[in-house]
């Protein structure tokens, strides 16, 4: 029996809509999938069909001194940036959510400002600033740049956990005899810890992938992984870059899954 006309139309529209959405997701993931596939390709250039499975590009990567140095440099730099911005951002979030009163919105805007301003612009401003105080091209300048961009992420992650925090839990603790410090240590801190850790992880990933800031503030002969990758991609065309990229993607995915486990990605609001 044939379907009535508008049920059919509805079905067709619905299928088209779903098809469009699926295509959009494919579009979002396509380059990443391609990069991962390319990294395992046995051939030199990427052709279709692929020429076989191989790990040679990974061994290229791990044997390449510039890549490995830049990888370690990035890891160390991002770790330092993560620690600094987590400390600053958590403290700032605690203040803004609990104590700020009428200054809350102004402070919030100020702390989140580096996110709203173009990264390139902030990087340029820092470049001029460090030149004028004679600290150009030092690792310290690089750390400052990374902290500036990652601080808002920690702030947003921790303040979102704090906003959702049930104040009656603290009141219950106080009614049971705990003073403000003990309440904070035993009740508040353990409950916001996942938010703090997520903020830190987010800071790490963001810092690891920063480009413009690293480019403008780095010293001679020093490179972060994205910059090394950028140089390589601009001049060379072999899939070692794909191997490097895949390692980067894998790291990101692990962090994202950890954050999902801790606080759930949906709670992050930018």
């Amino acid at each position: 029996m044939a379907m009535p006309a508008d049920k059919l139309r509805a079905r067709v529209t619905r299928t088209m809509f779903l098809g469009f959405v699926i295509a959009a997701y494919c579009f979002l993931l396509l380059p990443l999938v391609i990069v991962v596939l390319a990294s395992f390709n046995a051939g030199e250039l990427l052709t279709f069909p692929p020429q076989g499975f191989s790990l040679r590009w990974y061994s290229h990567f791990f044997n390449s001194a510039p890549f490995i140095t830049s990888l370690y440099f990035s890891l160390r730099l991002s770790a330092v940036a993560m620690v600094v911005s987590t400390l600053l951002g958590t403290a700032a979030a605690l203040y803004v959510v609990r104590f700020a009163g009428k200054w809350r919105d102004v402070l919030r805007l100020l702390i989140v400002a580096p996110l709203l301003l173009p990264e390139v612009l902030s990087a340029v401003a820092l470049l001029f600033f460090f030149y004028s105080i004679g600290l150009r091209k030092t690792v310290g300048a690089l750390v400052v740049g990374h902290v500036l961009i990652t601080l808002p992420f920690v702030f947003l992650a921790v303040s979102s956990v704090l906003y959702n925090f049930d104040v009656s839990l603290e009141e219950a603790a106080r009614s049971l005899g705990a003073n403000k410090f003990r309440t904070f240590r035993r009740i508040t801190l353990p409950i916001i810890k996942p938010g703090v850790i997520s903020g830190g992880l987010l800071a790490f990933i963001v810092s690891f992938d920063l480009f413009a800031v690293s480019l403008l503030l780095k010293g001679i002969g020093v490179a972060t992984l994205p910059i090394q990758l950028f140089d390589y991609v601009t001049w060379d065309f072999d899939p070692t870059a794909a191997a490097v990229s895949t390692v980067s993607i894998a790291m990101t995915l692990i962090m994202v899954l950890l954050i999902e486990k801790l606080v759930g990605l949906r709670s992050l609001r930018f």
Binding site: L30, V120, V124
Partner: protein
Amino acid sequence: MATPNQVAWQRPTIGSHAGHRARAWLRANAALLLVSPTLIFLSCFLVVPYVNMLVMSFRNPSTTSVFAPGYTIGNYTKALTDPFYLGVLAKTIAFGAVTTLVCMLIGYPVAYHLARTRARFKGLLYVCILSPLLVGVVVRCYGWIILLANNGLINNTVKQMGLAPHGLPLMYNAFGVGVGLVHVFLPFMILPILSAIQSIDPALEEAARSLGASRIGTILRVVIPLSLPGIQAGSILVFVLTISAYVIPVLLGALKFKIMATLVIQLLIDAFLWPFGAALAFILSASGAAVVYLFIRVTGPLMKGLA
């Protein structure tokens, strides 16, 4: 035991009131310790550098050093009267507008679907949208290079299949840059719209349908108007990010492709024309801000009645 009448008393006299005030001041100030490191950090490394950059844009240029002594508005007049720079600015703004529009058209359906779907892998879809954001712009561009380059995946396939023997010009031009921009900034459009649609009560859509509106009609007349704040936020975000994008135009457009951010960096790093570069950067920001302001003014009245 004291009766209420004997015990009732008002708030204490001035002496202990001052003590009370002092304690409160101390409490509030102790909390300030929490935020002061961040405030000092931001003042030093955000406010001061931006002000310094503004000052830099008024300095005299120099060929021997990054800048010469003295101040001038020459940098601004040069940038605003030279057709080359105006052209680059216009191109940048145009790119911003087109990218924003394309992201809106692709992003809205995706956001609507994710907001209303009841599939069990909803979390996975969220990861799919969020992960590209966090992967890093160089990696994402590299993926597109593999796909779009003249000897990249698409062209190799097309050539092999005999569809276009000389290949398609997909990269090192506006198309390649456009694809890269849309891809990188699409999540920034999706997330605010998603948030806006999620805050719309599904019962509103059901009410519209019960009154006779089709699915599409409901979306056009109920959902979209109510999600305008999300569309507005997403558009502003994508526009601002696009006009200041650096890596994507460089990797996917190469040196012939001039867009404002790449030009500014070039002037700073290659040519050491710091004052002029700073002026261009501010002109870009001001133009962007002007466009955003106009956009808000135009879309503001459309959102009357929404919180």
